[in-house]
């Protein structure tokens, strides 16, 4: 079998595997749902995830040890990952092929020539790594924005799967929604469409993971090269060159993605182009093309970027109150050192409450997970820790149900709080409008509930009536404009002197009938005033019990701007956002 055929099989296999792992990142117990599938495999194999978190946290989180395998293989064989394994690379490979399939050989050779701008990816990598390695507390992990594996995972999780599944609803019973995904989509689409301008545009010019592999492949034992000094110089080898690495001349080893198209396209009888241990006889360049000026400039940019972003004060006093992190999340500075915005937590979340944050959460927090209690099928479910179990970098650290609920050995610590629910008394039906409701209290999942009620009898508008006469349980009034059975819902009472109450059973336009069970001790005198009152149960939040799960906010029938809303004050993860003594 030809080596390029093997490569294509490998690309198709790993791309399919990647899509399959995205599909199985579904909450549930069926074979196509997350049981024991290694759904994070590609993220674990990504050395940029490992290196980034090493720089920010000075530790290597255990599943990321897989990246060592990729590093070792790259050191030995070169950038095999890009052309054999990377699902994003395979997408570019395919679209690059579509874009240039009707072009002439000369045009293709021109498209695939080496360009100076290919150095940009190294500068991007330097900026991102400097930001991650930034001294003291200010380090921030932003590699996930451009790192192809988190990028493609995010794009599949938050756009392609929801769109594909939206019409059939197999993966999820109802449509999944994700905020801000238009921009994730635009980014993904731009990266894919740029292949029609230059094949593998993203890989050649932007990809920081490719840049990291380029540095690693410097010492690779086997490389592409020529085994003669001269050949006919037909340049056919560059016709389908994926890396734009100039195999016809001085091959740029750093740019070579091991697609083996040059070897396939070489028309010479004795295979001038080979994958070999000895250096190319036509000469080779092993170092990435990083100019001193560019290097210094990107160092400086990286150093400046962190303080510049932090000027917004978003992790200090100006922290966004609606940035409610999932249970188990580390305190914000530590969280930002680990989150790679892969979207795995948002994909696995059974209720769809986990959402990619927009720019309002701060530039640094773009596309990191945040709870939006309005969008999904419920708030954060009490008995669920799925997001903390799937997080590949432990930005949401793996917690147990006992720890989340404050049970067992965590009983003294109490449950994890995501925030606190606040009642907006200007919007709440019982508080603001005298209408019974307490859906929030009904749905509070805690025992005892964090929302409790106080009974309050409120005299309705035009509720002062004058007694004409009393017959049995029926009070006839002087007023004759009552709406038939308006007060017959079981929530209305008739009050005498504001103290004695009778429950209203029915009413006509001028008579009110009181329940036989709940009635006055003393019959109201003719000419006296009675009050029509509605019995309200007004909700209160017990701030010491509320965990900020957001179920109340989700269920609140005031559906535009909710009358009970969770805000991140009081969240367990950060001591400086404590609310109570």
């Amino acid at each position: 079998m030809k080596i390029v055929t093997v490569r294509r099989i490998s690309q198709i296999f790993f791309f399919t595997l990647f899509v399959w792992f995205c599909i199985v990142t579904t909450y549930g117990g069926k074979f196509w749902q997350l049981r024991n599938w290694p759904a994070n495999l590609f993220l674990n194999l990504d050395p940029l995830v490992a290196l980034g978190t090493i720089l920010t946290t000075h530790s290597l989180y255990s599943p990321l040890l897989w990246a060592l395998l990729t590093v070792i293989l790259t050191i030995i064989f070169g950038r095999f990952f890009c052309s054999w394994l990377c699902p994003f690379g395979s997408i570019h490979h395919f679209f690059g092929y579509l874009g240039s399939r009707n072009k002439t050989a000369a045009q293709k050779i021109k498209l695939n020539r080496y360009r100076k701008a290919q150095s940009i990816k190294y500068f991007i990598l330097i900026v991102l790594l400097i930001m991650a390695a930034f001294p003291s507390l200010a380090a921030t992990l932003q590699t996930g924005l451009l790192d192809p594996i988190p990028l493609v995972t995010r794009s599949f999780n938050l756009i392609l799967l929801p769109i594909a599944d939206g019409s059939v609803n197999i993966l999820s019973v109802s449509q999944r929604f994700y905020e801000t995904t238009f921009f994730i989509f635009a980014f993904f689409l731009a990266a894919v469409l740029l292949n029609f301008v230059i094949p593998r545009f993203y890989c050649r010019f932007i990809c920081p993971l490719g840049a990291l592999f380029a540095v690693l492949s410097r010492f690779s034992i086997w490389r592409i090269g020529k085994n003669t000094k001269t050949c006919s110089n037909c340049k056919f080898c560059e016709q389908h060159c994926e890396g734009a690495c100039e195999p016809s001349a001085n091959i740029k080893i750093a740019e070579c993605v091991l697609c083996f198209n040059c070897r396939q396209d070489c028309k010479t009888k004795d295979n001038v182009i080979r994958y070999q241990a000895k250096p190319s006889l036509a000469g080779e360049v092993t170092n990435p093309d990083i100019s001193r000026r560019g290097f210094v400039l990107s160092l400086a940019s990286g150093f400046l970027a962190v303080p510049a972003v932090r000027l917004a004060g978003k992790i200090k006093a100006n922290w966004p109150h609606n940035l409610i992190r999932p249970p188990g999340s580390l305190a914000e500075p530590e969280f930002l050192k680990r989150c790679i915005r892969c979207g795995q937590c948002m994909r696995i979340c059974p209720t769809n409450v986990l959402q990619p944050a927009g720019l309002d959460a701060g530039l640094e927090a773009l596309w990191t997970p945040v709870l939006n209690n309005r969008i999904g099928s419920s708030g954060c479910q009490l008995n669920c820790i799925a997001c903390s179990q799937i997080c590949p970098t432990a930005a949401i650290r793996p917690i147990t149900l006992d720890e989340k609920l404050g049970k067992g050995s965590f009983a003294d610590k109490g449950p994890l709080k995501l925030g606190t629910a606040f009642i907006d008394r200007n919007r709440c039906l019982p508080w603001a409008f005298g209408k019974p409701c307490i859906v929030c209290e009904e749905n509070c999942p805690l025992s005892p509930k964090a929302i409790f009620i106080r009974e309050y009898f409120s005299t309705v508008r035009d509720g002062f009536l004058t007694v004409k006469k009393v017959v049995g349980n029926t009070i006839e009034t002087v007023e004759k404009n009552l709406t038939l059975d308006k007060f017959a819902t079981g929530d209305y009472y008739c009050s005498l002197d504001g103290s004695q109450k009778g429950k209203i059973v029915t009413n006509t336009n001028n008579a009110i009938t009181i329940s036989k069970e709940v009635k006055f001790a003393k019959i109201p005198a003719e000419g006296s005033t009675i009050h029509i009152q509605i019995r309200l149960q007004r909700p209160y939040v017990d701030i010491e019990r509320c965990i900020g799960c957001g179920v109340c906010e989700h269920e609140c029938p005031v559906s535009g701007k909710k009358a009970i809303r969770v805000s991140a004050e009081g969240e367990s993860r950060s001591a400086d956002r404590k609310l109570l003594l």
């Binding site: 059974p350 307490i438 029938p557």
Partner: protein
């Protein structure tokens, strides 16, 4: 395509071009004529309404409600149904049965916030083995995330193990309905798809305290067949619950008072919220079942205004004693 048209115009080509232009104009005109709408849209988009079938079976005087004391749910429900004439009275061979348990919350079975899965499984078994039902479906539109609710409450597993199919509430399964003589159920979405293919409907609910409705039992259980923004009905909970039993005419309801959620309902969440009351009620009349059931919570029927409302609407009997309930014990 951008091919250049360098052919000279002659009569033949001019006529051809004129004919094509004429056809295009005609096509545009026909489309405009066909789609012409003089009125503009009306305020309310019209939509088709569905009618929920009546699932009730003919009444048998003295065999409307049974109240059985017992600790073991399976034995107790078997007895309770037998006392009403056995499952064969309610489910005929080749019937399709829909069971509506209360699966509202992502709560484990032991906490009693959802219908007991063993009870659901036993009723499914009775339908299949004794009544020779063709197919049993189990469905609900839970408050919390549907898939999680069916998983964590174990009702999903119990139902499928007993041979039933679980129907999760998909958007397309909801159809609009209007209750004649109702105040609130008007053009309102209900979980119609499972009901449309059913011959019989069995509701199974636990007894739970409920701050707004005083108690959540078999009548309130049918709230789970409503879709849309059903929470707004809490403003007038008694009327909506009464309307539910006017809308839904079940074959049989089962009220599980083996353990009653006396505090912190309807979500519960702690064993201390439950109290053993060791009673299961089987009834053809949900209003009667709930009228007795509220006594397990220490309430009187007058504390639940929806009972009287349902009765005056002709949807059942709040004075369950008048139905001569069959009372028994299972040891």
């Amino acid at each position: 395509m951008n091919e250049q048209n360098d052919r000279k115009l002659n009569r033949r080509r001019f006529l051809a071009r004129a004919a094509k232009a004429g056809l295009s104009i005609a096509a545009a005109g026909i489309i405009a004529k066909t789609l012409y709408d003089k009125q503009g849209p009306s305020a309310q988009p019209s939509s088709e309404l569905v009618t929920i079938p009546d699932f009730s079976v003919p009444a048998m005087p003295g065999r409307t409600i049974s109240i059985v004391k017992g600790r073991d749910r399976v034995k107790t429900i078997d007895k309770a149904i037998d006392l009403l004439g056995g499952i064969e009275r309610f489910v005929k061979p080749d019937d399709t049965v829909v069971i509506k348990p209360n699966v509202a919350f992502t709560s484990v079975p032991a906490l009693g916030a959802t219908t007991n899965p063993e009870l659901v499984a036993e009723v499914i078994r009775l339908c299949y083995s004794r009544a020779q039902a063709k197919q049993v479906y189990v469905t609900d539109n839970p408050i919390n995330n549907p898939a999680s609710c069916f998983t964590i409450s174990r009702i999903g597993k119990a139902a499928t193990s007993a041979g039933a199919k679980v129907i999760l509430p998909r958007v397309s399964f909801f159809k609009l309905t209007t209750l004649e003589g109702g105040k609130y159920i008007e053009n309102w979405p209900v979980l119609y798809q499972p009901l449309a293919k059913a011959d019989k409907l069995i509701g199974i609910a636990p007894v739970k305290s409920h701050s707004r409705a005083a108690a959540s039992m078999t009548m309130k259980n049918f709230y789970g067949l409503l879709g849309g923004r059903r929470n707004i009905f809490h403003q007038d909970i008694n009327t909506i619950i009464a309307e539910l039993v006017m809308l839904i005419k079940p074959t049989l309801v089962i009220l599980d008072g083996t353990e009653t959620m006396v505090t912190n309902g309807p979500t519960g969440g702690s064993f201390s919220d439950l109290k053993r009351t060791d009673t299961i009620i089987a009834s053809c009349d949900p209003v009667a079942a709930d009228s007795f059931g509220c006594s397990l919570l220490g309430l009187k029927p007058a504390d639940l205004p929806y009972l009287a409302k349902a009765q005056s609407a002709g949807a059942g009997t709040a004075d369950y004693q008048s139905l001569k309930p069959i009372i028994a014990n299972v040891t």
